[in-house]
Symmetry: C2
Subunit: 346 residues, 2 copies
DNA sequence: CTGTTAGCGCGTTCAT
DNA sequence: ATGAACGCGCTAACAG
């Protein structure tokens, strides 16, 4: 039962590639107890400089690396944060992801990714994995998750930061993304000038935020007796481009609201190639712009949010929720899209 | 010493939010031993349908979720795969990431991200974390990592798949990305027609792959007595755009090779706005194209690789390395960029 | 300052 | 078919 009985490095099933150096091994070689080794690797101060040195050397010699798994089990903290996002090749999501990872790293957290496929079922599976994986907390940007799912996670005492919608409680913060109002304001102004030819590109599975923008425009149109046309498409530049080319055969004007700038470009290209003028005949507005908004000619009027910053803010908020001696007060922040009027609108 | 002494759910320091339901709890409530519960949650067949049912019910009732951490420690397998990539907002990287995650999920793995900041030191830190985190394997696409670092990781018996360069051994596979040859072929053909005005946009920290393309072109130029000009810029559309605008004040032609299509667009926009014709006066080639290559007008001639597929292939290769009863043979695959000649070259 | 010991939650023999 | 006991690698009291 003494400490040497603990490392029978031979009696393993697969002794071919299973021989991780443990804290026991280090202790044995250095001639100290494992508690001392533990103190050293955790930078406790109550160790003699000399023994510390000795331990450090044998750690180096043996190439010992502490197991985060064992540590997690012992401390019930994983220094691991879960990130839940939908699977999309969109720039704004990967920018956000970069922001999250960047600040997670600053605070010493490793991140695990739980990517959902835009179905409720898949979202539930990911929640399962998230809970089992023992993350200390999670940042969630996912349209498929409702309040009930969020609460399921919270039942397991996992602090959360939700991006996109306002939610708040003891261990739950949120970053609200405000596209709605800014977009609607531009539309209102346009309609206010007596125009009545706003058309919305409605993309299937475009996400909740886009849906909300669409609905708010539709509602405003109804209330103000304006005719808002809906153009339905699947999500693809090519499909929209082809569709709009035939559309412009017998429609020669309009104010087109598009979810992303690539789709706006599809409308613009189609219009120009059908001999129409932008923005004189057709005007185009992109709800979510990337850098390509000002790379493409004519430059696309679009809204934008610094998603890197959003991701970064969300992660910082989470680390505060995780920090016991932090009297956080701001558990919900709102960030609005800014409008960049460029060349595709008048 | 009997099993009931094992769950003193009160004597915790913070009994406020630490009360994860364990397998002990389930066993106690269901009136069975924890071994039985373990069998049930691992779908072992040697359990009576009746007791299995009983256990399942109490699991449901208690909302028990097995701890992946404890399981990892017990089995020394984490069902967790590490992904190491550089921090960039480039589409082709996030596409690759999507591909990796997508197939990791199919094989039942969770992924942890280790993002490096394009410095050797940061890369080393990430390696540290990777090793400590007990991943079962890792996929690496990172320019900062040399053979020595790769081998460091391998010392810890972590199966690896390297993207970008050919490497291979027992538990190490690779996906080689071939941009070099295809790009060089186009350049060769152009130079072969008697032209002598190729210019390369050289972006700082553009990554090893871009550097290699540059060097191979330079070398070819030297060997064939052709003058290849280098234009140095920092990585930013705006910087290149402004730089090229003044460049075109006193240069009226050239064949420009650019790392990415956004940078190619900078050259194109600058040229057009200085009254030059594309491709009549200036021709532009993008080494790595995205969908914006065919969205932008004039459409950009570019090379492309389906990076989603690359990521997916890498991950699949890794899962095979991880599978003990898989006699994998293909431990290194090569995938070449395809050329899409469009409107910015003749 | 250092060593001993008892868990963390689960998988896994070995008995029964 | 089921249960008791040990080990995975490490942290955290508690002694000394």
């Amino acid at each position: 039962m003494s400490s040497f009985s603990n490392k029978p490095s031979f009696s393993k099933k697969q002794m071919n590639l299973k021989d991780r150096i443990t804290i026991y091994e280090v202790a044995r070689v250095a001639g100290v107890s494992l508690a001392t080794v533990s103190r050293v690797i955790n930078n406790q101060d109550n160790v003699t400089a000399k023994t510390k040195q000795k331990v450090l050397e044998t750690i180096e010699k043996l190439g010992f690396r502490p197991s985060a798994v064992a540590r997690s089990l012992a401390t019930s903290k994983s220094t691991n944060i879960g990130i839940m996002i939908p699977s999309t090749g969109y720039m704004y999501i990967s920018n956000m992801l970069d922001g999250m990872i960047d600040t997670a790293k600053i605070y010493g957290y490793v991140t695990s990714l739980f990517v959902t496929k835009r179905t409720k079922e898949d979202a539930k599976n990911m929640i399962e994995l998230l809970i089992r994986s023992h993350v200390d907390g999670a940042v969630i940007y996912d349209d498929e998750l409702g309040t009930d799912e969020i609460m399921t996670i919270q039942n397991y005492h996992i602090p959360l930061v939700i991006i996109g919608h306002k939610m708040e409680n003891e261990s739950l913060g949120s970053i609200e993304i405000q596209f709605n109002e800014p977009v609607l304001n531009v539309i209102k102004e346009y309609l206010g000038k007596g125009n009545n030819d706003v058309k919305i590109l409605n993309i299937l599975n475009q996400g909740r935020i886009m849906d909300e923008i669409r609905d708010s425009i539709l509602e405003y149109g109804k209330n103000s007796n304006k005719n808002i046309e809906i153009l339905n498409y699947n999500d693809s530049y090519s499909l929209v481009y082809e569709g709009m080319k035939s559309y412009f055969k017998n429609h020669k004007k309009g104010f087109f609201v598009c979810p992303r700038d690539s789709l706006a470009a599809a409308v613009i290209n189609a219009a120009l190639e059908e001999g129409l003028k932008v923005p004189d005949d057709v005007q185009v507005l992109a709800e979510v712009g990337s850098k390509y908004s000002y790379i493409i000619r004519p430059e696309i009027s679009s809204f934008s949010i610094d998603m890197f910053k959003v991701g970064s803010m969300a992660m910082r908020m989470l680390t505060k929720l995780l920090d016991p001696n932090d009297d956080s007060k701001d558990k919900s922040v709102k960030i609005s899209a800014t409008y960049n009027k460029r060349q595709t609108t008048k």
